[in-house]
């Protein structure tokens, strides 16, 4: 169990994270969402032990993070800024991490056999990292994250630069974490890729604070989206907002707009549906629509 309690982090005098509390159980895949500069990467850095915590604590299975990290290669971290030794080859880079993680020759071969062909990396294996394409570097980043089969995986924008096939492969891997009692925290702007049952929970951040932490069940039961014309939206918004609902009209750049409605209970959701009448209702709101309900860029 990963426990983040009242964590605060400042750089110089600027508070980047403020009183963050988050518990993640084994088998959970959590999505972190929020606009740029909101502190998502900083939060992942803190969990990975790369940055120090100013206030609060992080524990893993009740062991303070520092003690845990001293003994275990328990955290794999896919970092957004592709941190590689550019003068080395793809193979050198992987071998360094294999050796640091204590892989035997057989384990190395097994790993490579499993992943290199799947990710279509054979042609690049001997190439220098500085000559690799963006997509290949992302794949290398992914591989170095999972070396050592860490219990906790942190992903910062894992899908950027991946083609469709590779995205499916990564999603498949993340699903596997759920069934094998691992923990994953994914920060991504591609919220649609985290939907469809991949993540158990969505955590929305704004100005260094968690504004909402929603389980899949809560999203299912308490949120809905109504699609209507701009004229209709004004009337409907007035009816819905301020009574028992939190609602927001979202411009999706099309003739129609969406109204995302947050209802405190299932019953209120039914009432809201009645108010919507014959308008098109999406029972399970897209997480990117819910994101826009809470988060302003």
């Amino acid at each position: 169990m990963l426990k983040i309690e009242s964590v605060t982090k400042s750089f110089r005098k600027k508070k980047v994270l403020n009183n963050i509390t988050l518990n993640v159980k084994p088998g959970e895949v959590v999505a972190l969402a929020g606009p740029n500069g909101v502190g998502k990467t900083t939060l992942l850095n803190l969990i990975a032990g790369i940055s120090s915590i100013n206030e609060g604590s992080v524990t893993i299975d009740s062991i303070p993070l520092k003690n845990y990290l001293r003994r275990n290669r328990g955290i794999g971290y896919f970092q957004q800024d592709f941190l590689f030794f550019n003068h080395r080859t793809f193979a050198d880079q992987l071998n360094l991490f294999f050796d640091l993680a204590g892989y035997s020759k057989i384990q190395k071969e097994e790993f490579l056999e499993r992943w290199i062909s799947d990710m279509n990396l054979q042609p690049h294996y001997k190439e220098k990292i500085k000559n690799l394409s963006h997509g290949t570097v992302v794949k290398l980043n992914f591989l170095q994250t999972i070396i050592g089969s860490p219990e906790i995986l942190l992903f910062d924008e894992p899908f950027s630069g991946l083609d469709v096939e590779q995205t499916i492969l990564v999603r498949k891997y993340l699903r596997k974490i759920k069934t094998q009692s691992g923990i994953a925290i994914i920060s991504s702007h591609d919220l649609h890729l985290l939907d469809n049952g991949l993540c158990n929970r969505f955590v929305f951040l704004q100005d260094g604070e968690i504004v909402r932490s929603l389980s899949e069940k809560e999203i299912q039961e308490n949120y809905m989206t109504i699609v209507c014309s701009e004229d209709e939206s004004e009337k409907l918004y007035k009816k819905l907002f301020g009574l028992h609902y939190n609602a927001k009209v979202i411009d999706i750049g099309e003739p129609e707009v969406k109204i995302v409605v947050e209802c405190k209970t299932k019953e209120i959701k039914n009432l809201a549906k009645k108010e919507a009448g014959s308008l098109r209702i999406i029972e399970r709101s897209d997480t990117k629509d819910i994101y826009r309900l809470f988060v302003t860029s």
């Binding site: 275990n72 290669r73 050796d99 499993r114 089969s149 891997y173 596997k176």
Partner: protein
């Protein structure tokens, strides 16, 4: 697309394994680097120039004295004169602690004078490069920063000291065979004392340059800090002798028995302080 088959079993971190692995990678990286090649070229060139200059100077003095077949005693006088003229050092150098032929001593002295700058040019990116490129963020997930720092220190020692000591060996062999037909065993005994002296002296500066590298956020920042540190200690050397690591190179000319006994302790002290300060700066380096 194959099935994803992942066994989650947490790998244990091991300081010694990381140290061994990372040192090996660092040594190969350094040996393949352009700055290593550059330092070898510059170093060998200077080695040749220093030796030739000193030979030329000695030959000239011998000619002036019309004593081309002089024995050790006469040569000692010439060496001493050279040392007085070239380095402004007034003390004799052939004594019971470091009695060895003068050319090797001169070479050693010059090497001790110039090496800190060479070392800085070689070492300044070692830590700052990791910080600038943020590769430390990845390494921290596999190993401790202590292990990274120690590995880099060892890798630098492995790649630099043999090179510098090799220079001494070449100088020694070149000059003793030509100029001083004295007892080889005695020569070798003193020769190795000088090598220990040089090793300890340069280790101090390797630790100092590592500290400069850890102090900067960028590679050029570290280079700047390193130059400032070298200048600072050069100035200190003039006002507070022996409060600066530079002061200890003069022991080649003033090798009092007592100072030599304490020299390893002084070196260990300076090395420890520089190493620890550099490590702390690296350990507490924050990444956004």
């Amino acid at each position: 697309m194959s099935n994803v088959n992942m066994n989650i079993e947490t790998g244990k971190k091991s300081f010694w394994r990381s140290l061994k692995v990372f040192t090996r990678y660092e040594v190969f990286d350094l040996l393949k680097s352009k700055r290593f090649l550059l330092i070898v070229i510059v170093y060998i060139t200077l080695l040749a120039i220093f030796n030739l200059l000193y030979w030329a100077l000695t030959e000239k003095n011998m000619e002036i004295r019309h004593d081309p077949f002089a024995g050790k005693g006469s040569l000692d006088t010439i060496y001493r004169e050279n040392i007085v003229n070239v380095f402004g050092q007034t003390r004799g150098l052939l004594n019971h602690v470091f009695s060895i032929d003068a050319v090797t001593i001169i070479y050693t002295y010059l090497m001790l004078t110039f090496s800190p700058l060479f070392l800085l040019l070689y070492i300044f990116p070692s830590i700052s490069d990791e910080v600038q490129n943020k590769t430390t963020k990845v390494l921290s997930l596999y190993t401790t920063r202590l292990s990274v720092y120690v590995s880099k220190f060892i890798a630098i020692l492995i790649t630099t000291l043999p090179l510098l000591l090799l220079g001494s060996v070449i100088t020694f062999l070149l000059n003793t065979s030509r100029l001083l037909p004295v007892d080889a065993d005695v020569q070798m005994n003193y020769f190795w004392k000088i090598q220990v002296f040089v090793t300890l002296y340069l280790t101090m500066f390797i630790a100092m340059c590592m500290m400069a590298s850890a102090a900067g956020r960028t590679t050029y920042g570290s280079l700047g800090i390193g130059i400032v540190l070298l200048l600072f200690f050069s100035i200190i050397d003039n006002f507070y002798p022996y409060a600066s690591p530079f002061a200890y190179k003069d022991l080649v000319f003033y090798p009092g028995e007592q100072i030599i006994t304490y020299f390893p302790l002084v070196c260990a002290g300076f090395t420890g302080i520089f190493f620890f300060a550099g490590f702390l700066m690296y350990k507490f380096r924050e990444f956004k």
